[in-house]
Symmetry: C2
Subunit: 756 residues, 2 copies
Amino acid sequence: MFAIAPALGKANLSASQLKLLAGKARWIFRVCEAGFPTIPTIAITRAAWDELQAERGRRDIRLRTHWVACLFKLVDKDGKPPMLVVRTSAASHNGGLMPARIGIPAPAAPEDAVDPGRPLARAIKQAFESYGFSGRTWTGGRQEDDRARQIVLVQAVAEGAVEQFLTRNAATGALGPAPLNGGPLPRLPEGVNALIALLDAKAGRHMSCLVAVKDGQVQFMSARSVQASAGAELEAAVDRVERRIWTPHSAVSRVDANRLALMLHPRLKSSEGVSPIAMGLGVSPGAASGIIVFNAEDAARLRARGKHCILVVNETGPADIEGMKAATGILTARGGMSSHAGVIARITGKPCVAGVRNLSVDAAEMVCHIGDREFRAGDRLTIDGTDGAVYLGTLPLAQPQIGGAIGKLLGWSDASRDIAVRTNAETMESVQTALSFGAEGVGLARSEHMFFSPERMVALRRMILSEDEDARSRAIAGLVDYQTGDYSALFASMKGLPVNVRLFDPPLHEFLPRTDEEIEEAAASLGVAVRALRMRLERIAEINPMLGHRGVRLAITYPEILQMQMQAVLAGARAASEKQSEPVAVEVMVPFVSTASEVSWVRERAMAILDNSGLTRSERVRFSFGTMLELPRACLRAGDIAAMVDFISFGTNDLTQTTFGISRDDAPTFLAAYQRKGVYERDPFVTIDEKGVGEMIEIAIARGRAANPRLKIGICGEHAGDPASLKFFAGLGIDYVSCSPYRVPIARLTLAQASA
Amino acid sequence: MFAIAPALGKANLSASQLKLLAGKARWIFRVCEAGFPTIPTIAITRAAWDELQAERGRRDIRLRTHWVACLFKLVDKDGKPPMLVVRTSAASHNGGLMPARIGIPAPAAPEDAVDPGRPLARAIKQAFESYGFSGRTWTGGRQEDDRARQIVLVQAVAEGAVEQFLTRNAATGALGPAPLNGGPLPRLPEGVNALIALLDAKAGRHMSCLVAVKDGQVQFMSARSVQASAGAELEAAVDRVERRIWTPHSAVSRVDANRLALMLHPRLKSSEGVSPIAMGLGVSPGAASGIIVFNAEDAARLRARGKHCILVVNETGPADIEGMKAATGILTARGGMSSHAGVIARITGKPCVAGVRNLSVDAAEMVCHIGDREFRAGDRLTIDGTDGAVYLGTLPLAQPQIGGAIGKLLGWSDASRDIAVRTNAETMESVQTALSFGAEGVGLARSEHMFFSPERMVALRRMILSEDEDARSRAIAGLVDYQTGDYSALFASMKGLPVNVRLFDPPLHEFLPRTDEEIEEAAASLGVAVRALRMRLERIAEINPMLGHRGVRLAITYPEILQMQMQAVLAGARAASEKQSEPVAVEVMVPFVSTASEVSWVRERAMAILDNSGLTRSERVRFSFGTMLELPRACLRAGDIAAMVDFISFGTNDLTQTTFGISRDDAPTFLAAYQRKGVYERDPFVTIDEKGVGEMIEIAIARGRAANPRLKIGICGEHAGDPASLKFFAGLGIDYVSCSPYRVPIARLTLAQASA
């Protein structure tokens, strides 16, 4: 028990007392210490209170005497004991805490100061009791320890009007008194600004502030921090740097990257007071509101009229791509993170909720059900692809603000970052977004994604469905031109920044027709009989396509695909290099290898094609060759592999799937139960599993660097956009990460924080 | 150049000369050395020959003088130079070698002995040239080295009749002169038996022997080893032990386990002169001949009449199980090693060739095509499930001979083996086979395989298809009785040997109806509407079932299944323990874990069920709990896991799939190309990949033992039946391996060889 704001003079706290100052107590002491008029306040810890009570049983009064002396510190120079207020002072605000108990008479006798039957001691006892054990998961010894340090404040009752306000605007972050919870701003004297500046500098957060105003004079009563919007916090952080309260470095380290993420997609203004009608998997972030449609034509029609729509389907396939592009958001009954819907939605930047178990769609009848509710075309829904929630009707959305403050903060962050941030992108649109967000290269251009348009799909399907090498070579010939143009545009737009092209790695089933109607259409466009197409489809169907004929396995079994891709990449690089002053930096990456022999097989052929291209003799194109490590065996054999490549890049999505033996698409059936039952703490597809997948990566890096000290190392799985994972990656000694365009700012910020 | 059998006296070779004795030279020297009359023979190495020729260029005669002196060693005491024979003496026989050149006159002058224009030197030159570089893949320095050591023999021409015979019968292994290649046995004097005994003891192999017989006297000319049948080699080995030529230990170490494997299934007597009409994947070993059938009824009908049949289908499903049981062999157009056909075939011990790409079956029309050929029910085929070959018509088969010799050899092998051999089995039939082959326990009883009969399948499907816990619990109730009886019989048959029961790990898709007809049938038997069943099937369909909702994930999401299984296992153990004197040794194993938290979750519940059973207080049942390590993450976290279990068992099939990222079912599309192009040396699903999967296992063993020194460690993947893999496993310090029943003898032999 001690005074943190004595009525006379200043508090002079010991180091151990200073350590006890949690919550409001901290700010009352700081403001008083800085010389701002402050309502007299004393603090008592639970440990002290318990000891005071124990002393009563022993009929001792040593501690009570000290306590009464403390209470006298609330007495002003007029010598009259004031009426008292009892407040909690929790480290974090909590609904169950006792509200301030106001107007308690000062104890008439020393015994009254500790007798729980008397008003003051009763209020203190109740305040401590209101702390309970809630609010945090205390563990082990700390629980008792923290409990002993809980504080209750006893203040003199203030004279004059009590006013409450925020130190900064909750929406804009602007400094100065701001209204609380949308209420009116109280009239406050000029003097309050000094208090605000003081508190903002000391706390570095939005504060809710309580003052007493009398005769134009302000007396500080108490303050606690409040959570402002991500945007307001960011603006405030930048403002503090500009006011020289913070260094740029402190601003960078104090902004929460997870909250920054919320600003980079359209989002729900607030979901308070509305409950989702269903939950699925948030597979592509951002929120979208719109009219329900069940097919591409309706989506296109609405889009043409400038209306937002949500495409609602059981699952998506190649036939739905146009509909997905036209829709504002996508909602599916089946599928997960790497379902067709998820992949396309993330590429196109559309919010998507997938795998809503109680959704069933009858597209033919243009009706869907979510649980018992029936929805028809024209009804409205809002989806939140960040958390997977589905809401009834149209909820208000906030658009992403990539304004001045975020730019400044990220600019500062770049100064203290030594790991490059690239992006996973292949379309011009996504590359431009990523560049505007500060991407320093393309870390993963998924070459097969360049075929996501109806006319190209025909050529691609023709190739996939080829029965023999001749047919495949003919199909391939039709693909080179598209690709050359795409690569040329991609390289040109990156103006000399490195572009990593991953060789063809199609999850075949995503490119193939599925429904009877699609098969008939595909047969017509391919010029084959429906029956023949069906037989071929059946023949190439895979039981576990994730572990099937893909990645480097395609390049080795069908070397003509490798040949075509290398030629297109090199022709694109040549074309781009002729139009710009910077040399084109091309990286070709072989996916899904499990042995060094696969790497050497592809390398030998790729290098022969490069040598024949004549580009090796040019200074205009810088070519490097590498591989993607996304299988446990590749990690173990990284030493052999590293000796043959310029770079390796970890594909953490597939590495997580194979290390855990979990298909991400099929995981929703048990992952929810796992988290509910506490078997997994975190979804390993969201935050990297440090103890398993992380160790695989560490083994690979150690062996790779030992074999090839000049090896460049990157991470290109989706974990590269997750702050917790990025912190882990930052400690691995890697050269770059590559994430989706909207995640580039998060990676820039988190890596700066981690390297600080 | 030196005499290995001089006409007078004995050869007295230096150590370096002894080292040069390869092929026939070795046997000629040994026989002569042992005092058996031998045709005079001298040997010249290529190095010596080359030097002789080089000397001619230098007009030197030092070496030539030595050579001529050597040639004089062929001269008998009559002093007359004999006519000569020039032979090669390759370490391994090879079709391209020069046949013996007979009747060459002895050189008339010293110069003639080295002049390639003269008959002797010409024959020697041609003999060296015929070695070429063929026959082996020589690598690096050894190539030149081995070449320099090639030998050519110069012999005196024998007088009398030249006769050829084998030292042991090629089919039975019986000692004594035996005919070669099915020809008649020449008349041989009694004296030949001493030579045969001598050679058999020296070579320890079947030898093809050349002698000259004159006046009832035998002179040894030359011999080379020949490959006899696996059975004959085995009989010979045992015979040598019984004749005290070999120790049991030498017999064990000299029998080739791979060849032993050929004896344990029906096999083709010979495939010489017949070409397969198609090749598929040999997924269940052994050969089978029979009449083609397309459905279970026809198979059953033929079986009832005692006829063999081959079930030919596109792929098998639950509806085909009865047909598979009735058929002698199974041939499918689709699927691989772990396809339904492969799994069931191996369990039931039926030869099976799967994934024959150019086979198409029209079951309704009762016709199939292999390439251009058409086959109808009643036509005959022979399949070889060991190598995947399909032959026209009925080829003669040899039945497995588990006779006295194999029993003796394996008995000896057990003495020098310290790793136990268990079996993967759950049916009474396979357990009995395994016991008769010497299995020392069950290392993997796949509990879900106990449902492979039509009436049980209904109950199992009802459980899999349950919509909620209530429905599932009802379905489960119907399963307990079956299981209790099965476990009781299983434990009883093992008479106290350990039985490892793996908790339910169904690859769901194998148990579910697929075709329209099967779905209709299943709906009827389950009492649900076809449409509802279809919707449910669609909902639980998985994209990558291998990485889906299986193993421990089922136990955690549906704890009622765990409860049912534990109760059935414990009830079965109690029942068995009441009928026998030995305590029942039960091991319960949790499959497909990737985290220690999964193990602890299941362990806690399993132990609670055990405690409630009262069996812990009984001495009649010994219970242990463990887990299967078959995912890379589980291997990395083996330390955490080992602390909670009594044993771990490596599931090398799934561990290979996940470490490589290869679905074994889908691998055939690229694995053949990989082997053809030299990317993989060996199929990692046949022989353990030591550098990748092997390291995972080593990491896990090191971490597991460190955390729990009393940890019991086993291997239960199919690699545990492969000799090359077993040699690797033997070095890991494991306690047991568990393989399919027919592989038990191979494991016993290989592990004995490895620990010697």
